[in-house]
């Protein structure tokens, strides 16, 4: 998992191919990566870095259009750049990128602390994809309350959707929970509805890649179906994400650009078969029981200036 990302192309490639994935981690990686890449490419000349910054920022943001944290983190660097001299530019960008990383760790802890209220002793949690430690610089977003509950001695167990096509649940969520000593059960995505019906799940917690002003949530494809099934069986469905995931500039889910990914991700298929492979889906506000953030539980509408 340790990668040295030196050139901007390498940073963009790592984000685009999901070598770095998870909305908060993408923001952190983009910020640090941008600074390191510009510094490296430009051999530490502030003037050259400033010249290259706008184009580099635009290319980085285009790597994954749905993740708002990417544009948000890059935007913070651009804002800092506008306030300092060329001489101080590289040092200021470095400091801001490091601040973004440190804030991400603190953000995860805060989500976990607020989230303890919904993860009592014995709680059985269903999650989708990986919004855990492997998706952030800290203990994750959706899994932060689970990690913290376990840390303070509560018995908690997790059902993890496999999350096709890239199996983040089976590969990442199962790995990090098993390693933390938290019992984890993987199921095929198609089994989530009957699991929720079976009574084996007390609550659902998922992450988010973008939350619109009205509360609609873009997250890994499959989330919407889980939300529908949770609602059908009266099981609480929580979205856990940093404030930076809320995008007041996006009015509703219909305005969110959904990235479509390559057919190859689905594995071997008969020749001549088409593929529909969206990376994300949108869960409407009406299906969300609560929004858990690093500032506590919040409720839509999310107005401009209040969040980011």
């Amino acid at each position: 998992m340790v990668r040295d990302l030196v050139t901007l192309d390498q940073v963009i490639e790592a984000i685009r191919t999901l070598a770095v994935r998870g909305a908060p981690a993408i923001g952190v990686a983009a910020a640090i990566g941008l600074v390191v890449a510009l510094d490296h490419d430009a051999a530490a000349s502030g003037t050259v870095v400033r010249d290259r910054l706008p184009d580099a920022a635009a290319r980085l943001i285009a790597a994954r259009p749905t993740a708002v944290n990417l544009a948000w983190a890059v935007g913070r660097l651009l804002a800092v750049a506008a306030t300092v001299s060329d001489h101080d530019l590289v040092a200021a960008l470095r400091a801001e990128a490091e601040a973004i990383r440190a804030e991400d760790v603190a953000m995860c802890e805060a989500i976990g602390q607020y989230g303890l209220a919904i993860v009592p002793d014995g709680a059985r949690v269903l999650t989708h994809c990986n919004a855990g430690a492997l998706a952030t610089a800290g203990i994750g977003t959706a899994l932060a309350p689970v990690h913290l509950a376990h840390r303070i001695g509560r018995r908690v167990s997790v059902y993890a959707d496999e999350t096709r096509p890239l199996r983040q649940g089976a590969r990442l969520t199962a790995w990090e929970l098993q390693r933390a000593g938290i019992p984890v059960t993987v199921l095929p995505d198609g089994a989530a509805a009957s699991l929720l019906r079976s009574g084996a799940v007390d609550l659902v917690i998922v992450g988010a890649d973008r939350i619109a002003a009205n509360g609609d949530v873009a997250n890994k494809v499959g989330t919407y179906g889980v939300a529908l099934a949770a609602r059908a069986h009266g099981i609480p469905f929580y979205v856990a994400a940093p404030w930076s995931t809320v995008d007041p500039a996006t009015a509703s889910g219909g305005d969110i650009v959904i990235e479509h990914r390559h057919a190859d991700e689905l594995g071997e298929l008969p020749a001549g078969t088409f593929v529909w492979n969206p990376a994300f889906d949108v869960t409407p506000r009406a299906l969300v029981t609560g929004y858990l953030t690093d500032r506590g539980f919040i409720a839509p509408p999310f107005l401009s200036g209040s969040a980011v």
Copy 2:
């Protein structure tokens, strides 16, 4: 795909491991396989065949507990056996098994003919798993109307859920439709809810492994989630199956034994990870728009004597 199944153990293994799969095909294979295996094992002595029949039948039925066609086909052979002499036994069993195969072909055609009413020119159909030609001796159950509509010149296209863990949609449905010249698009199971929301699907047709007296349907795991999403977006959800799939002796879905399969089917997982891998789920009657059978559209309750 061509297999010579000679001993009873081989027939049971083929059904158990899904080398033979799809509810109607299992019934046909069980009937033919039982006769061939007994005949082979017993060297054509009617007396020996009769001695071995009850145990062989019981072992065969136990191979896959959820598929009612298996018990139904074996039951037909047992019923025939009770009416003939030892001298005529093998020939009578052979004739009955062949009759079951021929009826299966006719059953598929009949489902297709009745089903043309719901597959107009231009229809875009979502299906789950494979209830096509590869699951029957004929043109399938859920896919029969699609095959027939295409044969008479209607433009029809199909979205096929990948259907984890064994990918019957991606492997079998995509293969048979592409081969028939019908456009087919594969999607991850988790994407079905957002596909249904997108307006790209006119109707859903799935098969069934068992239909209870009240209309609850056991089918490949993932079907229930698709049914919930179809209902959420007002898209008709049809179950297509032979009459023999209806089991009046099963009062409701809660009485259906759901087979759980091996963790290995989910592929590589971190050590220490548990797996929940049911083969089927139950879709309640309330979510089913119509039941398409070889005797036309039927409506629950399905009373004893009326169906099988």
